[in-house]
Structure formats: structure tokens, C-alpha cells
Symmetry: C2
Subunit: 215 residues, 2 copies
DNA sequence: ACTGATTATATTGTATACAATATTGTTGAC
DNA sequence: GTCAACAATATTGTATACAATATAATCAGT
């Protein structure tokens, strides 16, 4: 651990906000947090700045920083953007992915299948993440890859719920197969289009997502 | 001005880095900057954090922060990503742009044409920015809009040079016309494709960009 | 009793002091 | 003369003290 305390605190705070420990609009009291983490206000303030920059909190000058849980509209917008980013990754990857990348992609996909066979939703959730990350990587555009990873991470807590959808995992897998084939054959359009629809929140997925936001 | 000093300093620093006042790899000395801006290290550190978060500088723990000017590869990657973001905006805008939005878009485009008529490259540069921002807005996805604005701003200093290309402004305009028509007729594919190619750095634009990086 | 102004309090923003760690310079051994 | 170890120095990271401002609480006047 060569990180400074502020970084560890920021990670912890992000996790807490992710988990929904803090409600929307709640003020993040510097002094309370400082006491809670047994540090001074300085590293707390640095951590809060990070939260603000990443969009998880809002800062009102001379008032403080307040957690900003995304509402339904913003969530839909973020998923829509994610779908477009993934579509872009797929478009590039179709032309650029290496043999090694394809191998890794297939391996990741196999593990997704295993998770389904074992009816292990949690594992599918994490293997699926790897699968998508391999596509980002396959785009051979590290800037785009970084942006995709950033948004993927931000949406993490909300993607989780989609797996509860009955039969969603199987449909997801069949889409994976099409994506792999498209990338293998270099069909940029197909890869792009399939990924966009794969990630997009539509139909039943939409209602499921909305339902989980009532909390 | 209800901003705090740290914000103003951050803006100033961003501008300086943009303008190339600091060379790649140069260390941003907290104490020197504090003296230069006549403030203490605290707001300087906050400003530096902002630079790091926005990717304009890199922080090495217990070593300091160093400016990170994008190299040729990263620039290309960023332009590629920008093209995809704009393509996405165009795709959505084709279906969602309002009549008012279309009007604003056409107005912006008219001003681009005026700038060309007056051979005012600098004005074309700024009016063109507005034109694209109207497309972001037309996507009716404020998250995507924000991301597009962020990258547009980051690439600002590098887009400038493209206008020097002989005949580029005219070609750019004719592409604008196609984009406007596509959005008006709701042709998502055409709008998306045209925007992607409009923004992408290819052919002569690529060499021009590379040439300006030798400094 | 209610509203407005004024004071008191709390909280953010900034400056400074201190601690921890990396870098540099010096000294000594080989 | 070179390299290694150690001391000296400089710089980042953290804590605390102080200043500025917003919120609350109190009090006067109607």
C-alpha cells in the first residue's frame, strides 16, 4: 500500500456511496468523517473532491458537499452512453483485436457459460464484467478503454439487479456468442449493433431497474 | 465570482497547460506555484488534484505532480473517441432534437457560413464549436452531452490547427449541411456516420496534426 | 405571537506548522 | 576513481490554527 490516506478514504467513501449507505442529498460532514476515519479534515477534503469530480457528489461553495445518487433519468442516460461506448469499442475491436485478445475474450465467455451452468449469478456478474473489459481492450484505444472502464465501474451497482431477471443470463449469453463471432469475422457493424442492444436498458430491463430505485 | 481561490487557480493552471506553457513531464512545484499565485499550498494542492483528475497531469505519490501533455498516440485516441461520442449524439439527436434545437442548430450553421464568407478562421472555429454543442444538446441525453463537452474542451487546443488546412473550412461546411439535413429528416444512420467522419482525424488532417506536435 | 434584524454558532476555505518520505550531497572504504 | 552508506536537505502529506461566510438563534418591535 503506497497510497496515501486520502486515497484509501476516497475508495472507502466511494464504496459507501455505491452501496447506498448515504442517501441522496445527504451532506458529507467533514468533521464527522474526520472523526470517523480518525484523520484530520485535510485528507477528508481531498477525498471529497474526488467524489465530486467523479460525479458521485455535488459541491456547493461554502455549504459543503452532498451525495448525489443518480435519479432514474440520469441512470437511463448513463446506460445509454455506456451502450454507445461499448458499441464504439466493438466497432474498433472488430478491426483491431489481436489473436491473444480474441483468445482472452473466448476464455472470458467460457467462464460466463460455466457460471450459468452452475447457476451462479454472482459469478456470471463478475465474469461478464471481464468479458466486456476484453472488448474495451480489443478496441486498441486506451483512452476509450479507460472511459469505458470508468463508466462501467460507475454503473456497477445498477447492473447487478438486471441479473435477477428470469432468463436474462441465457439471453445475455447468446448475445455474447454473436458478439464474439462478429469480432472474429471482423464484422464491425454487427459487433457494434449487437453490443449496443446488449447493453441498452430496454423493455423489461427498464422496469426492473426502475423498481430497484424505489428504495 | 463566488468561486473559491482554488477553482480560479485550477482554471488558470489548466489554461497554462493547454497553452503549452509547461512542457511534458515538468513538475508542478507546489511552493513555487503558491508563491506565484500568492496563496498557500492548500488551494494549490486542490487545483493540482483537479488537473490530475482531468488527465492533464499525473501524480506520483510522495514525488509530486507532473504535467502530462498527450502524445501523438493518445491524441489520435482522443479524437477517435470524440468522433464516436459525436456519432452517438447524432444518432440520438436524429430522433430527439426539438424544433427549437433544429432552429438553434441552423442558426449556428449559418454563422459558420458567415465566418467562411468573411474568411474569419478564428470565428469559424468558435461558431463551429457552438454547432457541435447544439448536436450534443440535441441528443437529449445530458450525461452524454456533458461527456462530449468535456472531451471537446480537452481537444480544443488541437482542433485549432486543423483550420489552417487549405479548403478545410469549405469541406467542413458541406459536411455540416449533410448533418443538418440528416437530423431534420431523422436519418440517424446518416447523421451518425457523417459526424464520425467529420470529426475523425484522417488523411491530411492527420499529418497536419502530427506536424504541430513537433514543438 | 410573528417578523425582521442582529448576534452567536457552526462550517467551509485558507494558512501555517509539523511529520514522513524521497532526493541529493558528502564521506569513507575498496 | 567508483560505489555504497549515511547524513543533510527538500518536498510531499497531514494536522492544526485561523479567517471568511453561511446558518441558527435570540431579541426587539409591531
Amino acid at each position: 500500500m503506497e497510497l496515501k490516506r486520502a486515497d484509501k478514504i476516497a475508495d472507502k467513501l466511494e464504496e459507501l456511496v455505491f452501496k447506498g449507505e448515504y442517501k441522496d442529498g445527504q451532506r458529507l460532514d467533514e468533521i464527522r468523517l474526520a472523526e470517523h476515519f480518525s484523520v484530520s479534515r485535510t485528507p477528508i477534503r481531498e477525498a471529497l473532491q474526488r467524489l465530486v469530480m467523479s460525479g458521485m457528489a455535488e459541491q456547493i461553495p461554502r455549504r459543503g458537499v452532498f451525495v448525489r445518487q443518480p435519479g432514474p433519468v440520469e441512470l437511463i442516460e448513463m446506460f445509454e452512453t455506456m451502450a454507445e461506448l461499448e458499441a464504439a469499442c466493438g466497432r474498433f475491436a472488430a478491426a483491431r483485436i489481436t489473436d491473444e485478445g480474441l483468445t482472452r475474450l473466448k476464455t472470458a465467455n467460457d467462464r460466463c457459460q460455466q457460471a450459468i451452468d452452475e447457476k451462479d449469478a454472482l459469478r456470471y456478474y463478475s465474469e461478464n464484467e471481464v468479458f466486456h473489459q476484453e472488448i474495451y481492450r480489443g478496441s486498441a484505444n486506451s483512452y476509450l478503454e479507460k472511459e469505458a472502464l470508468r463508466l462501467q465501474n460507475r454503473l456497477k451497482p445498477y447492473r447487478r439487479v438486471q441479473l435477477r431477471l428470469r432468463g436474462r443470463m441465457k439471453q445475455s449469453m447468446s448475445e455474447h456468442v454473436i458478439i464474439v463471432e462478429a469480432l472474429e469475422s471482423g464484422d464491425a457493424e454487427l459487433a457494434s449493433r449487437t453490443l449496443r442492444n446488449h447493453v441498452a436498458v430496454q423493455g423489461e430491463k427498464f422496469h426492473q431497474l426502475m423498481a430497484t430505485l424505489q428504495n
